[in-house]
């Protein structure tokens, strides 16, 4: 098989890169409703439709709830389906997100991370499907192709969300390398759903009423499927690497091998953290980063394994679960480490809500604090807001 690694760089924003990937995938149906900061994705895709570059049927619905409802209808009809949204849109969709997953429909959604109201704020924050977080524009672009393959894998058949940070990634221009159209087509393959609403000779009933005697079996199957998704994400990431030269795993370990302290962080802020880590390394301080790429399903064993030799870990959440016990990343990572004989100390730092800048100095301050804890063994604040 011929492999073309395109080394020519193209400057694109995260949103444009996602729209371009959608153009290359040329899905059967897209349904979307505008919301900042994801709007550009569907604006640019609408132009591709208007210009006849793709022959996707676009449904410009009247709400995100209807967007996901239309995606569900189209996916149940056997179509390859995509949409994009952010924040409030994702919240309004929430009822239908759960239904899409329960019906095992392989829909792909580009979620541009934004804070949730109230108070209203259009900037970056992290909010739930199979969730793959993207650090860079290149990764957001690459993740979209992989998302389709993961969703449609017959051992998975679940919707996938690829997440990129609002404005920071969605609106920032980065130089990325685009894939060749013909090779994308080959990688994507054709999607042929087994049971569809349009096969009128073989009628199926979707979304039947289940009572206590059957509901839990459906959920058990769904749960098994999302557990299987982990291996599929890894396989597809590997295949993508073999074909296109950029391999993706479940997580990225950055200078973690011999690290005594580490920051666990998602998405674009990992880039900022890497700069701080490099500076500390110059001073022979053993610091590193673990950046989960796959957040749902949560690769708990792999994360525990990666952190087993670290003394102190800070989980940086760009979200708060408002339980007064830290953010979602913190809770999952800390829980993943519980069964280890020698557990690292784990603290939570909540940062950057509503698009507040997270700078190299912020990462450096966390690393300093972790190194101090490594020496003293004392944790002064288990959970703390930073960047305030």
């Amino acid at each position: 098989m011929a492999i073309t690694v395109n080394t020519r760089q193209t400057g694109l924003t995260g949103n444009s890169a996602v729209a371009y990937a959608m153009k290359q995938i040329n899905p059967d149906v897209c349904a979307a409703y505008p919301i900042t900061p994801s709007t550009q994705i569907m604006e640019e895709f609408s132009s591709y439709v208007a210009d006849g570059v793709v022959d996707t049927e676009l449904i410009t619905v009247e709400s995100e709830h209807s967007a996901m409802s239309a995606c569900i209808g189209a996916a149940a009809a056997g179509a390859r389906v995509m949409t994009a949204t952010s924040s409030q849109g994702l919240a309004l969709m929430w009822e239908m997100l759960y239904i899409a997953s329960g019906m095992r429909l392989p829909i792909v959604l580009a979620d541009v991370n934004r804070a949730l109201s109230a108070p209203i704020n259009i900037h970056c924050d992290h909010s739930g499907w199979i969730q793959i977080y993207s650090e860079t524009v290149q990764e957001a672009y690459d993740n979209l192709f992989q998302a389709v393959r993961i969703a449609e894998n017959e051992n998975v058949l679940l919707p996938v969300m690829i997440c990129l940070d609002g404005f920071i990634t969605s609106h920032a221009i980065e130089n990325i390398s685009l894939l060749n159209d013909a090779e994308v087509k080959q990688f994507m393959g054709e999607y042929k759903a087994k049971h569809t609403l349009l096969d009128t000779d073989h009628p199926v009933t979707y979304g039947a009423m289940t009572l206590p005697d059957t509901y839990i079996e459906f959920k058990r199957q769904q749960s098994d499927a999302i557990a299987r998704a982990k291996d599929v994400v890894a396989e597809v990431g590997k295949e993508f690497g073999a074909r296109f030269g950029r391999e993706y795993g479940l997580m990225e370990e950055y200078r973690l091998d011999d690290a005594e302290v580490a920051i666990v962080i998602l998405s674009s802020a990992a880039g900022t953290t890497k700069v701080a880590v490099d500076e500390f390394r110059k001073a022979d301080k053993k610091v590193g980063i673990l950046r989960p790429r796959l957040f749902r399903p949560f690769p708990h064993k792999e994360i525990a394994e990666a952190l087993k030799n670290v003394k102190v870990v800070a989980c940086l959440d760009r979200a708060d679960s408002m339980s007064s016990f830290g953010g979602p990343l913190f809770n999952d990572v800390r829980s993943a480490l519980y069964d280890m004989e020698k557990r690292p100390k784990v603290v939570n730092r909540i940062f950057g809500l509503g698009g507040r800048d997270y700078k190299v100095k912020d990462a450096a301050a966390v690393l300093e604090e972790l190194l101090k804890i490594a020496v003293t063994g004392k944790v002064e604040a288990l959970i703390k807001y930073i960047t305030i």
């Binding site: 059967d28 022959d55 709400s63 209807s66 239309a70 209808g73 189209a74 179509a79 349009l198």
Partner: protein
């Protein structure tokens, strides 16, 4: 138009054995519509009696492809299915000569109220589908709560006939007019007692190039406190009192399809239903008169529009 004999010979696409109540108006409506489609048809149903009563896993009454996803989104769900059909036709994945019809069913709660936004959006976008509202005038599936379609004066569990407040105090929403305002090719009101009128309307709706809408009165013995064996008669009286006018708006022209020779008083319809019994007490005549007056003025309004481009 298909004759009764022809309709009766077509396949039964909605099987018996479902759990809808005895005397429910929904099954005869659904059976007639699916027969009228006379070809491949795909349906979705909003959450409600029809969905709950026909698909208790592992059983299904639907001998056609069918989906239920949520309460407020039947019109959006059918939009997606119909669009996938268009996409597949364009891409040659469905033979060019294969025609599939699309129907969304919803009760009055799922249509007048929580699903109105999705319905409006789908009508505006012009999807090629038929939306059927079975209007029994309240949230019957959850136990007879008032909806935007509940008639003035009717007692429900959330608008009871109390000592001070006598049932629902507000007029019902005129959904058919709201739908007509979307300028869709075909919209009509029907009743299960008049199969000839209803099947003709279904055929016109299926033939329309774009969205079409049928609002169909659906007697509910549970919520109307009426006798199951009188359901079809109850639908007929609703029409003979002009509470439920049989009319259509085809390409903007309104036509009344049935004008009773003798318009019956609304009290005739109220008499056979427990939900209105408080309105028949002499001391509450004022409210009864108010209801009658409203029905009269609405009927006059329709008469004045009959045969006109509206």
């Amino acid at each position: 138009m298909a004759t009764l004999k022809e309709l009766s010979k077509r396949n039964e696409l909605f099987s018996g054995g479902h759990r809808l109540c005895t005397g429910c108006g929904i099954p005869p409506i659904v059976r007639l519509l699916l027969r009228s489609a006379n070809g491949p048809v795909v349906a979705t149903t909003a959450t409600g009696c029809l969905e709950v009563g026909t698909t208790i896993y592992p059983y299904t009454s639907w001998r056609i492809p069918w989906i239920h996803s949520a309460f407020e989104n039947a019109a959006a769900t059918i939009s997606g299915i119909e669009t996938a059909y268009k996409a597949f036709k364009k891409r040659g994945r469905i033979p060019k000569d294969k025609e599939i019809k699309f129907i969304a069913f919803g009760g009055d709660g799922g249509t007048y109220d929580i699903g109105l936004q999705a319905l409006s959006g789908a009508l505006e976008r012009g999807h090629n589908f038929l939306y059927v509202c079975y209007d029994n005038g309240a949230y019957m599936n959850t136990g007879i709560q008032r909806s935007g379609a509940t008639p003035l004066g009717a007692a429900t569990t959330t608008s009871p006939a109390g000592d001070v407040i006598l049932g629902k105090q507000e007029l019902r929403k005129d959904l058919t007019r709201i739908v007509v305002a979307h300028n869709i090719p075909y919209a009509a009101q029907g009743s299960p007692h008049n199969w000839a009128d209803l099947s003709k309307k279904a055929e016109k709706a299926f033939k329309a190039n774009g969205p079409s809408f049928l609002n169909i009165i659906s007697p509910c013995p549970l919520g109307w406190y009426s006798k199951p064996e009188e359901s079809i008669e109850a639908a007929k009286i609703a029409v003979d009192t002009c509470y439920w006018a049989l009319y259509e708006v085809e390409n903007g022209v309104l036509k009344i399809n049935y004008k009773p020779k003798e318009k019956r008083p609304i009290s005739d319809w109220f008499k056979i239903q427990g939900r209105f019994k408080h309105l028949l007490k002499p001391e509450n005549k004022e409210l009864l008169d108010k209801v009658q007056k409203h029905i009269d003025s609405e009927w006059e309004r329709l008469l004045s529009l009959d045969g006109k481009l509206i």
